[in-house]
C-alpha cells in the first residue's frame, strides 16, 4: 500500500498557516464534552495535555513515573533550537528547516519540518512566559550557544539542565490545569493495550503499578507521547522505564511502525566500565563547543597518560576529516568517526572503547571559571561516575544509543493510520529523518505538544460524536481479559533466568548486529538470534511476585517481551533499507572514504511496517518522500 502523509499543497512558507485555517474547529462550549487520553507526560505529552486542558477538553494524562514531572525529557542537557536569529548570523526559519532536512539525511517530510521550524520561535516565547530560567547575557537578553550540524548560534539553554527546565515549565502548566479540573493525572500507570472499536481508537487498558489492578478508560481520541525505543539495546542513555510497550501495543492493534531502523547513537557518552552497568550516561553535545576530540596517532601510545602524549602525536580526527564543522560535526558522523578510530585500535581507556574530549586549549583560551560556568554540572557528573577530574585530564567518551528517529507512522496531523490514535514527540517518526540534530528533540516535543496536536486533534474531533463509545463497550472487557492473560502467562513461566538477563542478551544482539554499523550478514544473524531468544524467554523466564501488587519484575518482563517482538521489525527494516543514511549505516553502502552512501532512486521513502503476528514477516508500506524546496544532495560536512 502507498501511504499518504496528507501534507498541505502550495508554497511551503504558507503551508502550516493555510492548514490551520482549513482545519475544522470545535465550538468552545462543546470542547468539554470530548474526552482525550494522553499517554506520557514528557515534553510532548505534558505540553499537549496542558494545552488541550486550557482549550477546555477533558483530559486524562497517564505516566508510569510517580509524578508527571519525571519523564525522561528531564534528562536533556544541552538546549533547544529556535530560528530567532538574535545573533544576526544569518539564521532564519528557512535555514532551520534546511539544516533539519539535511541533518536528517533527506529522509524526513518537508512540510512537517517546515512547521517545526516555524513554531520554534513561539516555543521560546511560551517557555519564557512560563518562567523558564533560560541563560541570559549581562544585557538581560537571552543567551545562545552552538550545536552540532549548524553553523549558526540558535540554541537556547538553561545551564546543563535545559530539558529539566522546559519539562518543569510544561509540568507547571499541567499542574495549573489539574487545579482547574480539566486534566486528571494518572501517575504510576502503564498502558498495556489500545482499545479499538470498529477500526477507531477509543481508549486504553492500563495497569495501576501500585495496586496491580487492570483498568480501562475510554476516550474520543488517544494520544501517545511515550518516547523512544532505544532501550532495545539494553544499555542506552534512556531511563530505566523507557520502553516501546505503549507504541508496540498500538502496532499490535494495527498502527504502523515507521523507519524503526533509524536510531541515534550519541557520540558523547561516558564509556562502559563493566558488566554491572545498568545504563549509560550522556554528556551533552554542547561539550563539543569547547572540547576537542582526539586519539593517539599511534596504537602504542594508547596506554600512556594523555598528558604524556605530545601534541604532534595526537589525531584530532574530527577536525582533520571535517575541517569546516570540526568538532561540531553531526551526531551520526561523530559517532561513526569515534567507532572507526577505536576499530583501528587507537581507542583509550578500559577495553580501548573510548576517545578523549579535551578542554585544555579552551581552558587556556577562556579560563577554567568560564568552562566551569558553562559545563560545571557535567564535569561534576563525570567525576562522580568515573572518579576523574576533567579540568585536569581529558574526558573519555564513547557513543551510546540515545534517541529513536523512527516511531509510529503519522500523517501531517500527527494521526496514525488508526483513526483517533495520535502520536507526538519521539514516539512518532516525522521530522528527524534518519538523523536528529542536537537540541531538536526538545523543539519537536514542545512543538507537537503546544502547537500541533491542539490544532489537529480539534480537526479530528469535529467529526466525532463525543462519548459515542464508552468503557461499557464489550471491547473494553475483552481488552482487560487479554492484558490479564498476558500477565498470568508471564508469571506462570516459572523458569530459571531473570528478566534482566534476557534484556542484556537482547541488547548485546542488537548492539553488535543492528548498532552503529550494519551489514546483510549481521542483520541476518540477528534475525535468527532474536526469535530464538524470544522462544527461550517464554519458556525460561522467572518473573517473581504476583499481579495484584506492586511488582517491578512483572513491569520489566512485559517491556522486555515487547522489545523481543519489536527488535525483529527493527532488524527487518534495517535489512530492507539497502542504503546508508544518517544513523543507519550499512557497511555495503559507503563511499571510498567511508561516508554514508544514500540511494535516492530506490529509497526516498518512509518504510511503515504492519505487524502480521508472531512468526510472520511484517508487511512493508511505503510513503514516498518528495523534495520540492530542498535539493537532494550528498550530505557533506567537510
Amino acid at each position: 500500500m502507498i501511504l499518504d502523509g496528507k501534507c498541505p499543497s502550495g508554497p511551503i512558507e504558507k503551508s502550516w498557516d493555510k492548514h490551520c485555517f482549513d482545519m475544522k474547529l470545535v465550538n468552545p462550549a462543546n470542547k468539554r464534552k470530548f474526552k482525550v487520553i494522553m499517554v506520557g507526560t514528557g515534553l510532548a505529552g505534558g505540553a499537549g495535555a496542558a494545552t488541550l486542558g486550557e482549550l477546555g477538553y477533558n483530559v486524562e494524562a497517564y505516566c508510569y513515573q510517580d509524578s508527571s514531572r519525571r519523564a525522561h525529557s528531564i534528562a536533556a542537557q544541552g538546549g533547544i533550537n529556535a530560528a530567532k536569529n538574535y545573533h544576526n548570523d544569518g539564521d532564519s526559519v528557512f535555514r532551520l528547516f534546511y539544516d533539519t532536512i539535511k541533518g536528517g539525511d533527506f529522509r524526513a517530510r518537508e512540510a512537517d519540518v517546515w512547521r517545526l521550524a516555524q513554531v520554534s520561535n513561539n516555543i521560546i516565547d511560551q517557555c519564557v512566559a512560563q518562567g523558564v530560567p533560560f541563560a541570559r547575557e549581562y544585557s538581560g537578553l537571552l543567551a545562545n550557544r552552538s550545536f552540532g550540524g549548524a553553523q549558526v548560534s540558535r540554541t537556547f539553554y538553561a545551564r546543563g539542565q535545559t530539558g529539566q527546565q522546559l519539562l518543569l515549565g510544561a509540568y507547571q502548566a499541567l499542574a495549573r490545569q489539574v487545579k482547574a479540573g480539566t486534566v486528571k493525572l494518572k501517575p504510576r500507570t502503564e498502558m498495556l493495550d489500545l482499545v479499538v472499536v470498529d477500526g477507531v481508537a477509543k481508549g486504553i487498558t492500563y495497569r495501576d503499578l501500585t495496586t496491580g489492578e487492570i483498568k480501562s478508560s475510554w476516550a474520543d481520541a488517544v494520544v501517545l507521547a511515550t518516547g523512544g525505543y532505544v532501550n532495545v539495546f539494553y544499555l542506552s542513555t534512556n531511563a530505566m522505564g523507557c520502553s516501546v510497550t505503549a507504541a508496540w501495543k498500538a502496532v499490535k492493534k494495527g498502527a504502523y511502525m515507521a523507519n524503526p531502523c533509524y536510531t541515534q547513537i550519541h557520540p558523547t557518552c561516558i564509556p562502559q566500565s563493566g558488566d554491572h552497568q545498568s545504563k549509560l550516561t550522556l554528556m551533552s553535545e554542547s561539550l563539543r563547543n569547547d572540547g576537542r576530540c582526539w586519539v593517539p596517532k599511534r596504537k602504542e601510545d594508547c596506554e600512556k597518560e594523555p598528558g604524556d602524549i605530545a601534541e604532534d602525536d595526537r589525531d584530532y580526527y574530527l577536525e582533520r576529516k571535517y575541517p569546516s564543522f570540526g568538532n561540531l560535526a553531526p551526531r551520526d558522523i561523530a559517532s561513526r568517526a569515534a567507532k572507526e578510530v577505536c576499530d583501528e585500535g587507537r581507542g583509550v581507556g578500559p577495553g580501548k572503547r573510548g576517545v578523549y574530549l579535551d578542554y585544555e586549549s579552551s581552558i587556556e583560551r577562556v579560563g577554567e571559571d568560564t568552562i566551569r560556568e558553562r559545563y560545571g554540572n557535567l564535569f561534576d557528573m563525570y567525576e562522580k561516575i568515573t572518579d576523574e577530574n576533567a579540568y585536569e585530564r581529558p574526558m573519555r567518551i564513547y557513543p551510546a544509543p540515545h534517541y529513536s528517529m523512527g516511531g509510529l507512522w503519522v500523517d501531517y496531523n500527527c494521526m496514525t493510520n488508526v483513526p483517533g490514535l495520535f502520536a507526538i514527540g519521539e514516539a512518532n517518526f516525522s521530522v528527524h529523518g534518519a538523523n536528529r540534530l542536537g537540541a531538536s528533540a526538545l523543539m519537536q516535543g514542545l512543538a507537537d505538544g503546544y502547537f500541533v496536536i491542539p490544532n489537529t486533534i480539534s480537526n479530528y474531533l469535529a467529526g466525532v460524536k463525543p462519548g459515542e463509545v464508552t468503557d461499557e463497550h464489550p471491547e473494553f472487557a475483552k481488552s482487560r481479559e487479554d492484558v490479564q492473560a498476558r500477565m498470568d502467562k508471564l508469571l506462570n513461566v516459572n523458569g530459571k533466568r531473570s528478566v534482566s538477563s534476557f534484556h542484556r542478551e537482547l541488547g548485546k544482539i542488537m548492539w553488535e548486529n543492528v548498532g552503529m554499523a550494519r551489514s546483510k550478514e549481521s542483520l541476518t544473524k540477528a534475525l535468527q538470534a532474536i526469535p530464538a531468544l524470544r522462544e527461550e524467554f517464554w519458556q525460561n523466564v522467572n518473573v517473581t511476585g504476583e499481579t495484584g501488587n506492586r511488582n517491578g519484575q512483572l513491569e520489566d518482563a512485559g517491556r522486555v517481551a515487547d522489545f523481543l517482538e519489536f527488535a525483529e521489525v527493527m532488524t527487518n527494516d534495517a535489512l530492507n533499507r539497502e542504503e546508508s543514511c544518517g544513523g543507519h549505516f550499512r557497511t555495503e553502502h559507503q563511499t571510498e572514504d567511508g561516508e554514508a552512501m544514500r540511494d535516492d532512486e530506490n529509497f526516498t521513502y518512509v518504510a511503515a511496517w504492519e505487524y502480521k503476528g508472531e512468526g510472520k514477516a511484517p508487511e512493508l508500506h511505503k510513503e514516498p518522500l518528495k523534495f520540492e524546496n530542498v535539493k537532494l544532495a550528498v550530505r557533506s560536512y567537510k
Partner: protein, 246 residues
C-alpha cells in the same frame, strides 16, 4: 567489596515493616549504589526471594525518582549526589549499610523503599506556575531579565523534587521544596504578578499535606542533591509576609 545491608521491608502502607539483613557480595567499586541493589535483587530472584522494591528511573541524577536513607542520610554520604549517582567507591569493604525509605507523615510507604510523594505535586498544583495560556504571550526578548536574577532563579529551579529535604528535616518540612519554586517565580517578572496567590496557595497546601514547619536546622540544604540553598526559605518567608493582608 562485600557489604552487609539492613534493608527496610514493608509490604504496603498498612504493613508494620521491619529491617532485614542481606549480604552484597563482590560489588564493583565502580558500580552505582542502585546497581549494587540490582545485583542483590538478582540474587534474591535466583534464590526464590522477594526482590527489594525501590523507585528509580533516569539513573543520572536529574529525574528525582530515586532515593532512600542510607545510614541515616538521605541519598547517602556524598554531598550533592543522588542515590543513583552515588558510587560504591564511596564505601569500604566490610561496611554495614542501613537502608530506609523517606520517613515523613506526608510520604506514606508504598512498598519497601518506595514512598508516595504526590503531596509535593499538590503543592505545585496550588500555585507553582504562571498562568500563561499557550500562544497568548509576547516575544521572548521583550522582557529583559538581569543575569543575576536569571541565575538566582535558576539556582532555585534546580530542585529535582526528590523529597530528600523532607526526609532529612526533623519536622518533616517541605519548606525547601516549596521555597525553591516560590523564589524562582517571584524573582522573574513573569511570575511577580501572581506572587501573592502563589505563596498563599502553596504554603496552605504544604500545611494541609502534613508537612511540618522550618525551625532552621538546615539539614535540608546539607542533604539536597542539587545544593538548593536555605536562603530560598528566607525568600519564601519574605514573600509570605509581603502577602499578609495589610
Amino acid at each position: 567489596m562485600n557489604l552487609t545491608l539492613y534493608v527496610w521491608r514493608q509490604n504496603g502502607p498498612e504493613d508494620k515493616g521491619k529491617l532485614e539483613q542481606y549480604e552484597a557480595k563482590n560489588v564493583s567499586p565502580d558500580s552505582s549504589f542502585l546497581e549494587m541493589l540490582d545485583e542483590v535483587n538478582q540474587e534474591l530472584i535466583e534464590t526464590g526471594g522477594d526482590p527489594i522494591e525501590f523507585d528509580n528511573d533516569c539513573r543520572e541524577g536529574i529525574c528525582g525518582t530515586c532515593g532512600c536513607v542510607i545510614n541515616g542520610q538521605p541519598h547517602g554520604p556524598q554531598e550533592q549526589t543522588t542515590a543513583c549517582q552515588l558510587h560504591m567507591r564511596q564505601f569500604s569493604d566490610g561496611d554495614t549499610l542501613t537502608l530506609e525509605p523517606w520517613r515523613a507523615s506526608a510520604f506514606p510507604v508504598i512498598k519497601d523503599l518506595a514512598v508516595d510523594r504526590s503531596a509535593l505535586d499538590n503543592i505545585i498544583e496550588s500555585g507553582g506556575y504562571t498562568s500563561a495560556y499557550t500562544g497568548e504571550v509576547g516575544e521572548a526578548n521583550q522582557t529583559l531579565i538581569s543575569k543575576p536574577d536569571a541565575d538566582y532563579a535558576m539556582d532555585a529551579a534546580e530542585c529535582i523534587g526528590c523529597g530528600a529535604c523532607v526526609a532529612a528535616c526533623p519536622n518533616g518540612s517541605a519548606m525547601l521544596f516549596t521555597s525553591a519554586k516560590v523564589a524562582q517565580l517571584a524573582t522573574l517578572p513573569q511570575g511577580k504578578i501572581e506572587a501573592v496567590e502563589r505563596v498563599n496557595g502553596m504554603t496552605e497546601a504544604m500545611l494541609n499535606a502534613g508537612f511540618g514547619n522550618c525551625s532552621n536546622h538546615y539539614e535540608c540544604e546539607a542533604t539536597c542533591p542539587k545544593g538548593v540553598s536555605v536562603k530560598f526559605i528566607a525568600k519564601l518567608n519574605r514573600e509570605y509576609i509581603k502577602a499578609l493582608p495589610k
